[in-house]
């Protein structure tokens, strides 16, 4: 185990930072709250940077990199609240790659943008595959699937699907009558597919309610393990994004605490502020350690990946909640104004903690895995 960035990874991170710096992503995050079309399309930039094929094998036109590399890219996007549809595309690409699907080259070049329509695998108190409900805590059943040869027909709704709007291909999980999950690649424009775009509090996060009414797609020949892996990969990506956002909250707050004076002293010299800032750092470092764990586990110990990804999301989600509020606190009244950046990170935190099962579900899975003896605690 080598738990440090390789030279290539440092380069990947620098390149990502460079690409993103060409856009005023944070300013746009504010504007888009009132004018959703103010968001620039960052997919061409992602294509240029080679991100769509990051997790696709080299022989199929991808970069053949690992989850940890993807998390570094997610982190850079999160740092500047960039709206790049990787949370939809990367887990979808991982399923397509495992299936050796015919679309892989087009997906790898970014020509065809896929979106993952997630289903939560068993692994906590629920024995079956479930999806996000439109409202409330009661989980919804995953879409029902009927398989005929290479074709799958899906029926059902999945709420709050990241990056579904504008995607060309949906990679969805359905459940057959016997409870077994099955994956389908469905054209977004196919009959029986409807995608209702929704925006909730954080304009940089594109979401959609996806409804299948007898929609037909190609069956993807992958096992339940690959579909579970995609779910945890999405969790790890949310963790990566959150880590980047926390880093910005910390940097901005530290800089302000050095410059702002009260009672004749820089506010950063007061223990209350100083300890709040070190608490951001502590949580950030914990999340980073688990980001390494998730990256390492997916590559080298896949049976631990569910635990690692859940722990990373739990820690990073908690860190972002804390950091966004701390950023507002440290900045005093000005931190709660529309023109300040702090509320944008707060909006990111408020929505992220409630997506894809929420931070809470990830924490619960850490407990379940440990209690059932998976993972090496």
């Amino acid at each position: 185990m080598n738990f440090a960035l390789s030279d290539e990874q440092a380069l990947l991170r620098e390149a990502a930072r460079g690409s993103l710096s060409r856009f005023k992503t944070v300013e746009v995050a504010r504007e888009a709250l009132e004018q959703p079309d103010a968001l620039p399309d960052l997919w061409p930039m992602a294509i240029e940077a080679g991100w769509p094929g990051l997790l696709i094998a080299e022989e199929r036109g991808g970069a053949g990199l690992g989850a940890f590399d993807a998390l570094l890219v997610a982190e850079e996007c999160g740092r500047v609240l960039a709206s790049v549809p990787l949370l939809g595309a990367l887990p979808a690409s991982a399923i397509l790659d495992a299936a050796g699907d015919e679309t892989l080259e087009a997906v790898a070049t970014g020509e065809l943008r896929p979106a993952y329509v997630p289903a939560r695998p068993p692994g906590d108190h629920d024995p079956g595959w479930t999806v996000e409900p439109a409202r409330g805590m009661t989980r919804a059943s995953a879409p029902s699937a009927a398989v005929e040869g290479d074709q799958v027909t899906l029926e059902g709704t999945v709420a709050f699907v990241p990056d579904a709007s504008g995607a060309a291909l949906l990679v969805a999980v359905g459940v057959e009558q016997d409870g077994q999950p099955v994956a389908a690649a469905i054209e977004a424009g196919a009959d029986g597919v409807s995608i209702e775009p929704v925006m909730r509090y954080d304009a940089t996060r594109s979401l959609g309610h996806v409804t299948f009414s007898g929609a037909r797609g190609r069956r993807l020949d992958v096992g339940a393990d690959v579909l579970a892996d995609a779910w945890y990969l999405a969790h790890a990506l949310i963790a990566g994004e959150s880590i980047g956002a926390v880093q910005t909250c910390l940097d901005t707050s530290v800089a302000y605490a050095k410059e702002r004076f009260t009672f004749g002293r820089a506010i950063g010299s007061y223990q209350a502020i100083k300890h709040e800032l070190t608490e951001i750092l502590r949580r950030l470092e914990n999340a980073r350690g688990l980001q390494y764990y998730a990256g390492w586990a997916r590559a080298s110990a896949p049976e631990e990946f569910p635990l690692a990804a859940s722990a990373a999301r739990s820690a990073a989600g908690g860190a972002l909640d804390f950091a966004a509020r701390a950023m507002i606190n440290v900045h005093g009244g000005i931190g709660a104004t529309w023109e300040h950046d702090a509320p944008l990170f707060f909006r990111r935190a408020q929505l992220s903690r409630r997506l894809l099962g929420g931070t809470h579900d990830a924490t619960d899975r850490v407990a379940e895995r440990t209690m059932s003896g998976v993972g090496s605690i």
């Binding site: 439109a134 509020r325 507002i328 606190n329 104004t337 707060f346």
Partner: protein, 328 residues
């Protein structure tokens, strides 16, 4: 009640809270007989709304650092220049109670004076300040050569700090005991009643029980404070602890409500969205939690103060010292 009538009339429900709850008691304590006679009646009847003009961009927690200047003219009136922020109701207000610096050559707490400012005077400009929700819950107020009569002074020239402290004490009492979590317990009970899974979830129940316990404590400590007031005691700084409890419990309530509902709780017209956006700013209203805890630790528990680097330094020299420190 007055509150209910006001809220039925679609006027912000906090209108009378600032005037009657905070500024009125200060006028009663420090105002002249003429001031009490002129202002208290219309304030109580809701005919004249008041606003509090204390905070500035460079003076929030450290309120004594206000830079808005009032200079005495030859006719013994005053000329006001400067800027205030975080002013609730400035756009509706007939009068404001304003803390200004009248002497820069003495240490900062000593050169302050409290004034009554007619908000329709020439040179007063009110500009909305948008908060997290996008709504302008607060204002910036600019003063450009505003003329004040000699009788605008409240509590005597140079006594502004003591006068301001009275307002702050009542402010803490008001925010702490006056608002009980902004209706969040009722909303939360409704939200949970509508969700069987949530209602049976031990973690949801535990979070609910903790925050309701806190809000009940604020309510019954409010009754204790009222009993003390009725017995002629003045609210002490410990009333600020009620504010800390109330704001944090309301944050916990809105977080929990939104966790149960999911992302739809973040829609602009949801029950929860406004609270979620509003509460972070409220945490700073009436002094940050950290300053409150300092004050209570020192004045209630008798703990020694922090070393102060600004003590005894003339206000005019302070900014220079700070700039130097940043440059180092």
């Amino acid at each position: 009640t007055v509150n209910q009538e006001i809220s039925r009339a679609q006027v912000p429900g906090i209108l009378d809270v600032i005037g009657i709850g905070m500024l009125g008691p200060c006028l009663i304590a420090h105002g002249s007989a003429e001031q009490k006679g002129r202002y208290l009646g219309p304030m109580l009847h809701g005919d004249e709304v008041w606003c509090q003009l204390f905070s500035e961009p460079g003076a929030g927690s450290d309120l004594a650092a206000v830079q808005t200047r009032a200079r005495q003219s030859d006719d013994e009136g005053w000329t006001l220049n400067g800027q205030k922020v975080w002013t609730t109701n400035a756009q509706f207000a007939a009068y404001g109670l304003l803390l200004a610096r009248t002497d820069s050559d003495v240490p900062k707490h000593k050169g302050l004076t409290m004034f009554i400012v007619p908000m329709d005077a020439d040179g007063v400009t009110v500009r909305g300040l948008r908060q997290i929700s996008g709504e302008a819950e607060f204002n910036e107020v600019f003063f450009d050569d505003v003329r004040l009569e000699p009788d605008a002074v409240v509590g005597g020239v140079g006594n502004g700090w003591g006068t301001a402290l009275t307002v702050l004490m009542y402010e803490r009492l008001t925010i702490g005991f006056g608002s009980e979590g902004f209706g969040s317990p009722t909303r939360l009970a409704e939200t949970l009643a509508a969700d069987e899974t949530a209602r049976a979830d031990a973690d949801v129940r535990h979070r609910m029980g903790e925050l309701i316990t806190d809000l009940l404590a604020v309510r019954f400590n409010g009754y204790r404070a009222l009993t003390a007031l009725a017995q002629g005691q003045i609210p002490g700084p410990e009333a600020g602890l009620a504010k800390v409890t109330m704001v944090n419990a309301a944050i916990a309530a809105s977080d929990l409500g939104a966790d149960v509902v999911g992302p739809d709780a973040l829609e602009p017209d949801s029950d929860w969205s406004y609270l979620i956006s509003f509460l972070p700013g409220l945490k700073s209203a009436g002094g940050t939690e950290s300053i409150l805890r300092n004050t209570i630790g020192e004045r209630v528990l008798g703990l020694p103060p922090e070393p102060r680097l600004d003590k005894g330094v003339p206000f005019s020299e302070l900014r220079a010292i700070e700039k130097q420190a940043v440059a180092r």
